[in-house]
């Protein structure tokens, strides 16, 4: 794209004007800097906040676009239908959760009910006993003493769920679904479960309701799954060595969920099979970004309005300097008109100067913000996972450039009109 002769003339003369009045340009930039910086920071802050919230949300909701199918009902065939349909597929993963106690047999776990270890769930209430028919309070005589055991929610997976929920590795490794299933189930703990096993030394014996025998689990890794409840992940095929298919779904607290990519035939096939056994699946698509954008947009608007006010003060500064400069350059503009420069170009020269000033300020504000973010990432990146590898959001750069341009236009508009109206006779009367 080539500029017109007038555009190029305005640019050349504008740059000459800026070079000739470096201090004034600097003062204009100083007055504008805070305003543009405020816009950049608000926009960057909103983008970073969105990313931070989204990154946590993705851990338990799934990445945007994931189709989630939840199953209701207690059909004994539920587990086998889901696993037989989904097993071995890369476009869908089934997860089923059940209670598991790891530790000494014959005692109550230290965190009964799978509660977090900080006691944030409060009093767990009287001990309960659950079976296929429901849960009942245990008679006092049958209540076991608390001992060296930890209760976790055990989530059995048919495939790599991290494509849908990007759990953050903390230690060790994630479950390897390509390897042969092991007889002793390999577990990956979440952070809360890992905390429990750090606090309490318990024997490596795992009890799962409905299992044919107690198992010896192998901990292979720890992930951050965003869950406050102690949880362990296991390959479903490894667990099924010990737990029959019809027992894989806890009839009382069972969670069966299938995560799949949009458009996979699994959704239709599974729905049909489930409806045939009287289970009505609930299907939804994760769209966290949109939901969150709605929540964030109001906050962003409020902050942008505040930044706009700061920018307005900068505009007043640039306007003030612009008017003073035009007042000083009356003879120059009159002379330019005398040599044939049209009024529109005179206005263009002044606008070019303020626009260049606005753009230079924007570049400075963006540079400072990017450097500051780099510093924050280097300083706090290890403690805040969402900051790791964070780049300066391009939206903030665009917002800064727009703010600079708008400030340039607003601040230069009135001086430009003044410049265009200077009579040529000024040079005759001088």
């Amino acid at each position: 794209m080539r500029m017109s002769g007038r555009g190029r003339s305005a640019l050349i003369i504008g740059l000459q004007g800026i070079r000739a009045r470096k201090t004034r340009t600097l003062l204009s930039m100083v007055s504008l800097f805070l305003g543009v910086l405020a816009v950049v920071v608000v926009q960057a802050g909103a983008s970073i906040a969105e990313r931070a919230l989204l990154s946590d949300l993705e851990l338990y909701e799934g990445v945007d676009g994931t189709v989630v199918m939840d199953m209701g009902g207690t059909s004994p065939r539920l587990g086998s239908i889901v696993t037989s349909t989904v097993a071995g597929r890369s476009d869908a993963v089934a997860m089923t959760s059940m209670q598991a106690v790891i530790g000494e047999p014959g005692v109550r776990p230290v965190n009964e009910g799978g509660a977090p270890f900080d006691g944030s769930w409060g009093d767990p209430g009287p001990p309960m006993e659950c079976d296929e028919t429901g849960c009942r309070e245990l008679p006092a005589a049958e209540v076991q003493p608390k001992g060296q055991a930890i209760e976790v929610r055990l989530t059995a997976l048919t495939g790599n769920v991290r494509q849908f929920r990007p759990y953050r590795p903390q230690a060790g490794e994630w479950l390897d679904f390509a390897a042969m299933p092991s007889l002793g189930p390999r577990l990956v703990l979440n952070k809360e479960a890992a905390k429990g096993f750090q606090q309490y030394r318990v024997p490596a014996e795992m009890r799962v309701p409905g299992a044919s025998a107690n198992m010896t689990p192998h901990f292979v890794g720890v992930v951050d799954d965003g869950d406050q409840q102690p949880r362990a992940y296991v390959r479903l095929d490894e667990l099924s060595h010990w737990v029959p298919e019809n027992k894989l779904v806890d009839p009382n607290m069972g969670e069966v969920r299938v995560l799949m990519v949009a458009g996979t035939p699994v959704e239709q096939v599974l729905s049909t099979k489930l409806k045939a056994v009287g289970v009505e699946p609930m299907v939804r698509t994760v769209n966290s970004k949109k939901d969150m954008a709605d929540q964030l947009s109001l906050m962003r608007l409020v902050f942008l309005a505040m930044a706009g006010l700061v920018l307005l003060i900068g505009v007043a500064g640039i306007l003030n300097v612009g008017l003073a400069t035009v007042g000083e350059r009356v003879e120059e503009f009159a002379l330019r008109r005398a040599v044939g420069t049209p009024r529109a170009l005179l206005a263009g020269i002044v606008l070019a100067e303020t626009l260049i000033t606005g753009l230079l300020t924007a570049a400075l504000a963006i540079g400072v913000s990017a450097l500051a973010l780099k510093g924050v990432v280097a300083f706090a990146g290890t403690s805040q996972p969402f900051l790791q590898g964070m780049q300066f959001p391009w939206e903030a750069g665009v917002a800064g450039v727009i703010a600079g341009l708008v400030a340039g236009v607003l601040g230069g508009f009135i001086p430009a009109i003044r410049a265009a109206g200077i009579p040529i006779a000024t040079v005759m009367r001088a």
Partner: protein, 231 residues
């Protein structure tokens, strides 16, 4: 031969005061290509106003202004700017050079005026040619603050000539110079008539006026031909 400029019955009244004052009262003037004309008169006689009308800075209240056969008496500002660029060159008493620009950049100002676009190389060639014409090409990179008054006025003349105007209007160009330097500036101005450019010089200096082809005297808004009339 058709006149380059034909003014007939040009009247200009200064309004906005208690009594409207007639500055130009039916001025008639024909100027041909390559001709040099001096306009003399007392201060406040309307010489600069006449030059403003001639140079399209201002518009006459009455009368007609024919330039190269076209009536431009009621020209809109946009077209007037274009004509100022293409037909006129201006030299003022004060040189009006921009201090932050070099001599060459000051001259180039007349080329970077939004009336057409010349690539940098052509622009530079024209600027150097104009500076050479007035004998100061060696000062092209100097800023006005490092030049004498005569040199600065020559830069101003080069700026007026760089677009090869058909009419050069000079308003007391030697007013801020000593006699010797003033004479050199008049030499430089008069040289333009050799290339068919008309020169209209407003001056108080009788010697400089006498060097022009015609001398016109402006008195009470009326222009009289005083060529050959001695003081």
């Amino acid at each position: 031969m058709t006149a380059l400029i034909q003014l007939s019955g040009i009247t200009k009244v200064l309004k906005g005061q208690e009594e409207p004052r007639t500055i130009l009262d039916g001025v008639n003037l024909d100027v041909h290509a390559g001709e040099s004309v001096a306009i003399v008169g007392r201060s406040g006689s309307g010489k600069s106003t006449l030059l403003s009308v001639l140079g399209l800075f201002d518009r006459a209240d009455q009368g007609s202004y024919i330039l190269t056969g076209d009536d431009i008496s009621r020209l809109p500002e946009r077209k007037a700017a274009k004509l100022r660029s293409s037909h006129f060159g201006f030299v003022f008493q004060r040189f009006f050079l921009l201090k932050h620009l070099t001599a060459a950049q000051n001259v180039a100002m007349a080329l970077v005026n939004g009336q057409g676009w010349l690539p940098r190389r052509q622009r530079r060639a024209k600027v150097m040619q104009a500076l050479e014409e007035v004998g100061i090409a060696h000062l092209a990179k100097n800023r006005p603050t490092r030049m004498s008054g005569g040199e600065q006025q020559r830069v101003a003349i080069a700026r007026a000539l760089v677009r090869e105007p058909r009419i050069l209007l000079a308003d007391e160009p030697t007013g801020a110079l000593d006699t010797e330097t003033g004479a050199l500036v008049i030499d430089a101005l008069q040289a333009v008539t050799a290339r068919d450019c008309a020169l209209i010089l407003v001056t108080h200096d009788r010697d400089h006026a006498a060097r022009m082809g015609r001398v016109m005297h402006l008195e009470a808004g009326v222009l009289h031909d005083r060529t050959g009339v001695s003081a």
